[in-house]
Every structure is written in structure tokens, then in C-alpha cells.
């Protein structure tokens, strides 16, 4: 009996030792390299860094609305409380002016800050870990070259226990796989370039892979879509042809929607408009083409069976009301048969984002309208007006139900309650 107690004690000791080791060693910490800094990087290297910073969309989070670029301060609402994004201008006191190239790489690659604290995964280091050392160095060189701005970082406002960064050790064990992108030799150089951009700097998985209650995204569900926390937009699956699966899209349409924000098939609005506006419009034709090749080749997964005809049933009264609203308010732009006038006004017939299981985006568009982003290739976009003050919840539900099932669209009807829920939220 006594020896059993001893065994338990020894086991407990090792368990405690293990926990302590985990706590202090903080997996993911890299020993700092002592490579000499290149004091004066070439112009072309800084240019490349700027290009890559666009690809990584650093500006979107690290700039406050109306604030100085990269000076931080923007609040990122999360289900766990508000995060305040940091200043990444090279200011010595409040920015990253004293960071070394090695420390910057460790942050991008391992999610560990200069002082050794673990970063919250709102910073997409789980994607940026795929970025090569050389590309990280170029981004570093670019950030060091911008004007320093003195703008102190604001402490995060996270609820207990999420304000305990030590807990991130657990999150990292579950969801973080550290490592630069490894090329797939079976695939073309173009496909690999696309994969590198989509998985790495593009951090597409941050929205297009469902996020669970712990704020993690599961690799096995990569690009299968999900609600974007706190933004109330649905990021469609990139693998299901029922959603934004790109399997039957032409490469040109994929490249167009990424780079111009509009295409013959669909148009981007909401959070994806922001990504195109801040990031993708600046990418080269070659890189956008490479991303298109990779995205088109994503394995097709039919997450759920198409809705049955029973589920698609809409009462004739609602269908007629929806049709009447559509003909009056929508048909001048989207056409009496929903064919649209692409790329100005996107088609609704056969548009996957209209018919996918989640009706959130369609309802939001009817309520709040939206302009496609103004981009270098499409600087004068067309826009849809809001209808929230013109249509009641019943009318919104009727017209959205109509466009989801008319013209052989394979969607399901929506309810006034679904419209009402989204109406209560202010647009972002």
C-alpha cells in the first residue's frame, strides 16, 4: 500500500515537472540566431517586402480607421473580449523599432513576441508560420523603412480566463503546427506558389475554416467555411460546390474576383471586399493566377447533401410576394430572370453564394446593400442600396426565399425571424 502511494507521488511529481516545463519552456520558442543584420537592405528587397506586406494584409488590422498606417490601436472584437492591435511602425518605444530581424521572424514563425510572451491567435501566425525566412526578412525590411509613429499599445480587454496568456500553450498544442511551407513535388511550381500564398500570407483559413468554441480551426475542416465570429458574415466553403467551391469556375473568374473584386460569376462584399481592397488587388497577375490554380484544385468535399425538394418548398403566397418585390426592386439591375449584368450587377441565378445553406449573406445584402470594393482593375464599382427601411422582415424573407429557389436555384426558404435577427445588428 505504501509503495502504491510512492508510485502516485512520483507520478504526480513528474506530471508537475512536465507542466512546469511546458509553462516555462513555451513550445514554439526558437533560440535566437545571431546572424548579423543587413544594415542597408536593397531597394528591391524593401519593395518586395512591401508587396509581401500587401499579400499578408497587415494594414487591415494594424491600422485604426482613419489612423496612421501600421500604428495599431484598432479594436478586434472576439467572442472572448476586445483585442487591440499593436503598433508595427519602427518607433523605438511604442512600435517594433528595437526588434531584430530574428525576433521578427520568431514572431511570424512561432507566434512568440519579442519579450517571449505568446501571441493571441488573432494574429494569424498559424498561417504566417508557412512564410519563408527570406520573405519574413523582406517584410521586416519594409516595416523598418516606414515612418515611425509614437502610438502606445492599448492593453487587451479579454475576459478571465482568456486574459491568461499561459493558457495559449494549450491552444497551441491543439491548433498550431509550426513550419515553413514545404513544396509538394507532385504539383506544378504555379500550384505550389498559390498554395504558399493562400496558406501563408493570405491567411485565408482564418475566415474560410470554421472556428470552434476555443477559437481554433481544425485542419481537417480546412476551407470548409464558417461564420466569421463577431462580424456576422458567413465565409463560404471553398471546397463545396454548393458554396464558394471553385471547382467549376474558370481560372479567369477566380483571378478576377480575387484581384478586381468582380467577375462574371459573383462579386465580393463585406469582409472579403476588405481583403480585396487592402490586399489582393495589389498582387501580381502571376500570383493571383497561381492562387486561382491552387483554389480551383482544392479537393471537392460535399459537406452536406443538397436540400430535398421538401425542404425547398415555399408557399405559393410567399413565392408570389417575393416575385412581386423582386420585379419591382431588384430586376432592373439583376434582370427579370436573375441573370444580372456582370460584372456590374452579379447574377443571382446559379450564384452559389445565394443558394448555400447559410442565407446570412443574402439577407444582409438585401438589408444593408453594399458596394464592391474600388480596386485598380475596377476603380468605379457599382453598388446595391439598402432595403432595410423599405422592406419588412416578411418582405425580406419573401424576396430572399424567392431568389434562393427561383430559376432552378437550389436554396431553401428563409424566415422573417432570420431577417429580424440580422436587422438588429448594425452593419460593420
Amino acid at each position: 500500500m505504501r509503495s502504491f502511494a510512492r508510485v502516485v507521488a512520483v507520478l504526480a511529481f513528474f506530471a508537475a515537472l512536465g507542466a512546469l516545463a511546458l509553462y516555462f519552456l513555451q513550445p514554439g520558442m526558437l533560440p535566437l540566431r545571431t546572424k548579423g543584420l543587413s544594415a542597408a537592405p536593397a531597394t528591391s528587397f524593401i519593395d518586395r517586402g512591401e508587396y509581401l506586406a500587401h499579400a499578408g494584409d497587415c494594414v487591415a488590422c494594424h491600422t485604426e480607421p482613419g489612423g496612421v498606417q501600421f500604428a495599431g490601436g484598432r479594436a478586434i472584437p472576439t467572442p472572448f473580449g476586445n483585442l487591440y492591435v499593436t503598433n508595427i511602425t519602427p518607433d523605438d518605444e511604442t512600435g517594433i523599432g528595437r526588434w531584430t530581424q530574428d525576433e521578427f521572424y520568431r514572431m511570424m514563425h512561432s507566434g512568440v513576441s519579442r519579450d517571449g510572451t505568446l501571441l493571441y491567435p488573432a494574429m494569424p501566425f498559424a498561417s504566417y508560420t508557412r512564410v519563408t525566412r527570406e520573405d519574413c526578412d523582406a517584410i521586416y525590411a519594409y516595416l523598418m523603412s516606414v515612418a515611425p509613429v509614437k502610438h502606445p499599445n492599448r492593453p487587451h480587454e479579454l475576459r478571465f480566463p482568456f486574459n491568461k496568456r499561459e493558457l495559449l500553450v494549450g491552444w497551441r498544442t491543439l491548433y498550431f503546427r509550426e513550419g515553413e511551407y514545404v513544396a509538394d513535388q507532385e504539383q506544378s511550381a504555379q500550384w505550389n506558389r498559390g498554395a504558399y500564398l493562400v496558406q501563408g500570407l493570405g491567411h485565408c483559413a482564418m475566415c474560410h475554416t470554421a472556428v470552434n468554441a476555443l477559437g481554433g480551426s481544425s485542419e481537417s475542416k480546412a476551407f470548409e467555411g464558417g461564420m466569421i465570429p463577431n462580424q456576422n458574415w458567413y465565409a463560404p466553403s471553398l471546397t463545396s460546390n454548393r458554396e464558394a467551391g471553385l471547382g467549376d469556375w474558370s481560372l479567369k473568374d477566380i483571378a478576377d474576383i480575387l484581384q478586381a473584386g468582380v467577375s462574371q460569376r459573383a462579386t465580393v462584399y463585406g469582409p472579403m471586399a476588405e481583403v480585396v481592397y487592402n490586399s489582393l488587388q495589389y498582387l501580381s497577375d502571376d500570383d493571383v493566377q497561381a492562387m486561382a490554380v491552387y483554389l480551383k484544385g482544392l479537393p471537392r468535399r460535399e459537406a452536406e447533401p443538397p436540400p430535398t425538394s421538401q425542404e425547398r418548398l415555399v408557399s405559393p403566397r410567399i413565392m408570389e410576394s417575393g416575385r412581386a418585390i423582386y420585379q419591382k426592386q431588384c430586376s432592373v439591375c439583376h434582370g427579370p430572370e436573375g441573370k444580372g449584368q456582370a460584372p456590374a450587377y452579379p447574377p443571382l441565378a446559379g450564384n452559389q453564394s445565394i443558394t448555400m445553406a447559410s442565407p446570412v449573406n443574402s439577407i444582409r445584402m438585401v438589408l444593408n446593400g453594399g458596394y464592391a470594393p474600388g480596386t485598380r482593375r475596377n476603380p468605379r464599382p457599382y453598388g446595391m442600396p439598402p432595403f432595410s427601411h423599405i422592406l419588412s422582415d416578411e418582405e425580406v424573407a419573401a424576396v430572399v426565399s424567392y431568389i434562393r429557389v427561383a430559376w432552378q436555384n437550389s436554396g431553401t426558404p428563409v424566415t422573417p425571424a432570420q431577417s429580424n435577427e440580422l436587422r438588429k445588428l448594425l452593419p460593420e
Binding site: 482613419g66 432592373v332 439591375c333 470594393p373 453598388g383 427601411h389 423599405i390
Partner: protein, 255 residues
């Protein structure tokens, strides 16, 4: 005939200028005549003539501001037609960058570049739709008199300039940055003055409207909004030319 060259030549004589103005007027009349007649409500239903036009691109604005920017009978959405392009542009930029807060507008223009916002501003600045009648606030004669006094004479004791000193004798605004007040709802004017007073709405520094609004009491704001709403539509809807008069306060939006 090379029209632009010809017009440039014509522009040299005063008589020809008058002729050109006449021609433009006639053209504008014809454009108006071509417009389908519609009740105020019909004016908020999307419609356009040519796909590749600013009219078609501006359809994102019409359910709130009306087909010609004349405002609507729904909510307190303001008339934007005929306001100086510089003012409209400043507002669009402020909505985009979040320095003027109204979530539906912030959302709509969030990802639109400067040049395009300028084009949208010019589009609505050039429109001259008729002034739609709107509801009149029921206030007593004393309140109206107080409103008239502030709007037309100001209050030297409190360092309060008259509205018309900057917003124009006909309340149609002044190029490039001061908005017309004619045709605005009292609810809209009250809300904006209040927002300015509490610091929710700003203009480029020096923010003259902030200096003015912080000198106004609630009763002043009610009075001035009511008087403005009671004014008949102006005979000439164009804003006054830039700085014909010396402004009593320096305004950042006039620079």
C-alpha cells in the same frame, strides 16, 4: 465641328458665354423631360438609363437619398442634390474613414477610393431636382422669431454668426465645402447640430461648426431648425461661389 474646341473659343466672349449657358439650360430641361415621372416613393426604386453611367453606379444611394439626391419621405435621410461637391466629398471620405459615424453609410463606402468618391460627390452636386415638400414642425411664433434672428442676424453678444453668413443668402451653401441647408428636415438639422455640439461630428480644423454649435442651447437648436424648415425652396438652387464674402469664422473645409 470640333465641339470642345469650338466651345473653348466661344467661351472667350461674354455673349457667347451667355449663349452657352442657355444651351446647357436647354439640355438640362430636355434631360429633365426625358426622366420618367414618378411619385416621391417611386423615386426611391432603383432605375437607370445606361449601364455605363454614374447614374447606374449611384443606385446604391437611391433608396435613402432618392434617384436625384432629393431626399425621401422616409426617415431623416438628407437631400444631397446640389450641395457643393467639396462638401459631399468631405462627408464621403469621413464616412469611409469613420470620422463621421453612421453605420449604414460607413459600411457602404468603406472600400471606395478617393477618386471615385469625388466622382460620386460631383454627380450629386450637379443634380437640381425640385425641392420636395416635407413636414413642418409645429412651433410657436416666438420660437420661429428666435430661429430667424439666429439664422439671419446671429448673436454678436455670444459670438454667434448668422447661418446665412456662410450657408448663403438663399441657404444653398457655398463652394467648395459649405452645405446648403434648404430642403433639409428639421429632425436632420437638429440631430447634426446636436452631434456637433457634443463632439460626435467634426469638420477639418479649424472646425468652425464646432465653435458655433457649442454656443447653441437646446432651445436655440430647436428654433433655428424650425425656422430653416419653414423657409420656401430657394429660387436658385446653386451654391454661392467660393468666398465672395469674407467668412466670419475660419473653416477648415473652405481651404
Amino acid at each position: 465641328m470640333n465641339l470642345p474646341g469650338g466651345l473653348r473659343f466661344l467661351g472667350k466672349s461674354l455673349l457667347a458665354r451667355a449663349l452657352a449657358a442657355g444651351l446647357i439650360l436647354v439640355a438640362a430641361r430636355m434631360a429633365c423631360a426625358a426622366e420618367p415621372p414618378g411619385s416621391p416613393t417611386e423615386d426611391t426604386v432603383p432605375s437607370f438609363r445606361t449601364l455605363d453611367s454614374m447614374e447606374a453606379r449611384a443606385q446604391g444611394c437611391v433608396t435613402c437619398h432618392g434617384q436625384s439626391g432629393q431626399g425621401t419621405d422616409n426617415g431623416y435621410f438628407p437631400r444631397i442634390a446640389g450641395k457643393p461637391a467639396g462638401y459631399l466629398y468631405n462627408q464621403l471620405v469621413a464616412f469611409r474613414d469613420g470620422t463621421r459615424k453612421y453605420p449604414p453609410m460607413n459600411y457602404l463606402v468603406a472600400y471606395l477610393p478617393d477618386d471615385y468618391l469625388r466622382e460620386l460627390a460631383r454627380h450629386f452636386a450637379a443634380l437640381r431636382p425640385a425641392f420636395a415638400p416635407h413636414e413642418l414642425p409645429e412651433v410657436d411664433a416666438a420660437t420661429l422669431a428666435r430661429g430667424e434672428s439666429i439664422a439671419t442676424r446671429g448673436d454678436a453678444q455670444r459670438g454667434l454668426p448668422a447661418c446665412i453668413a456662410c450657408h448663403g443668402r438663399l441657404l444653398t451653401g457655398m463652394e467648395p465645402g459649405i452645405p446648403g441647408l434648404a430642403g433639409l428636415r428639421p429632425t436632420y438639422i437638429t440631430a447634426q447640430l446636436t452631434r456637433w455640439r457634443v463632439g460626435e461630428r467634426h469638420a477639418p480644423e479649424p472646425d468652425c461648426m464646432n465653435r458655433i454649435a457649442t454656443r447653441l442651447s437646446d432651445a436655440d437648436i430647436t428654433a433655428v431648425s424650425a425656422w430653416l424648415a419653414h423657409q420656401p425652396p430657394p429660387r436658385e438652387a446653386a451654391p454661392e461661389a467660393r468666398n465672395l464674402v469674407r467668412m466670419p469664422l475660419a473653416c477648415g473645409s473652405q481651404r
